[in-house]
Amino acid sequence: MNAREIIVRRAAQELLTLNDQSGYYVNLGIGIPTMIANHVPAGIPVVLQSENGMLGIGPYPYEGEEDPDLINAGKETVSEAAGTSYFDSALSFAMIRGGHVAMTFLGGLQVSAHGDLANWMVPGKMVKGMGGAMDLVAGARRVIVIMEHRAKDGAYKILNRCSLPLTGARVVHRIITEMCVLDVTQEGLRAVELLNGETPATVQAATEPKVIF
């Protein structure tokens, strides 16, 4: 398995923590997080919320059944599940901002030891906009960032302090990388799981802040 696959498979296991109390309403960010939909554990009745105005996303449509009026937040054609509802963007973000979405998975460029997230803008590069990411991190009850542990050039992505402009301050609850699962706690980052044969030493070496093992 490559890093992306390790991350997505481990992330999907987070869905096992959902229950009738929390509800099963989950928002998957655009890009890699969308792939989590293919790995939902059996028996977990996850309902996917799409911030463009849909609750109950089904699988991609069969060839020839694409509907231009039926897309997800990544602008991909999708289908509807039984019990789907459609609504406008104001109600969609009322759900998100109002804390009705139990869990969201988002990609990250940088995460700090305090749970700050940067994932929308690299100064000097073309700015595309934050879309719904700032609302999701501010509103979802549990925010999980999934990303490769280090940048391609080996630079830290998990930092004492983000150098990139923030998407949200103190918003991340958990980070899942191909190396480990880290929780953001009052005391700092705490490793709750090591993946793929990593050790405390290898994880710490790839992480700027001190990790509690």
Partner: protein, 233 residues
């Protein structure tokens, strides 16, 4: 009360230079394409456009950008559009980026007579710079302003001649809020029907928010990302 216009050109004829125009749609889904073409052909310039996206390089609001009609865009996400990128980098185009949920709420607020509200979205980020931040029950929130427009352009699936609208699936998106916040709201509809033909409990935008309505001619729809699965034989 006659709200019905024969086509987009007649409905949009009085949009002046410098107008603020709210435009429905998410990506290319649910955009009022015939109204955008008419606005292009009529040629009003120095427009402020409020729309979640700015179209792609080929479709949607890009036609107004190419025609140098847009002074400022208020949006949440503007990728996938090279014309936009070029004009923004050259300084031709002023851009106000606002988080998607805050944008939706600002427009609804404008339409609902609410000049400002507090939200946790964007606190501690560039978005909150220069804005009031205040704590309620121990959590900080930023003050955001309502948005109203001189005109709103929306696309609906069905509309009646009174101006009641029903949208279809995720083509609803920003359209209902834009309709609320336009001083003059112009609706293009795929199917124009008589009052009484729409189920009163199923109307998404009540007629009071719509000043003009016309039936689309071509009704082309674009798919940005065609994703499908194969049938197992």
């Amino acid at each position: 009360m006659n709200k019905v216009y024969p086509d987009a050109a007649s409905a949009l004829t009085d949009v002046p230079h410098g107008a603020t125009v709210l435009v429905g749609g998410f990506g290319l889904c649910g955009i009022p394409e015939e109204a955008i073409f008419a606005l292009h052909d009529l040629g009003a310039r120095h427009l402020t456009i409020v729309s979640n996206n700015a179209g792609t390089t080929e479709h949607g609001l890009v036609h107004l950008l190419k025609n140098a009609q847009v002074k400022k865009m208020v949006s949440s996400y503007v990728g996938e559009n090279e014309v936009f990128e070029r004009q923004m980098l050259s300084g031709e185009l002023e851009v106000e980026l606002t988080p998607q949920g805050t944008l939706a709420e600002r427009i609804r607020a404008g339409g609902a007579g609410i000049p400002a509200f507090f939200t946790a979205t964007g606190v501690g980020t560039l978005v909150a710079e220069g804005k009031e931040v205040r704590e309620f029950d121990g959590r900080p929130y930023v003050l955001e302003r309502g948005i109203v427009g001189d005109f709103a352009l929306v696309h609906a699936w069905k509309g009646d001649t009174d101006g009641n609208l029903i949208y279809r699936k995720t083509a609803r998106n920003f359209n209902p809020m834009m309709a609320m916040a336009g001083r003059i709201t112009i609706a293009e509809v795929e199917h124009l029907v008589q009052p009484g033909e729409l189920e009163p409990d199923g109307i998404h935008t009540p007629a009071i928010f719509v000043q003009r309505i016309f039936q689309c001619r071509a009704n082309t729809k674009h798919v940005e990302r065609r994703t499908v699965r194969k049938r197992t034989p």
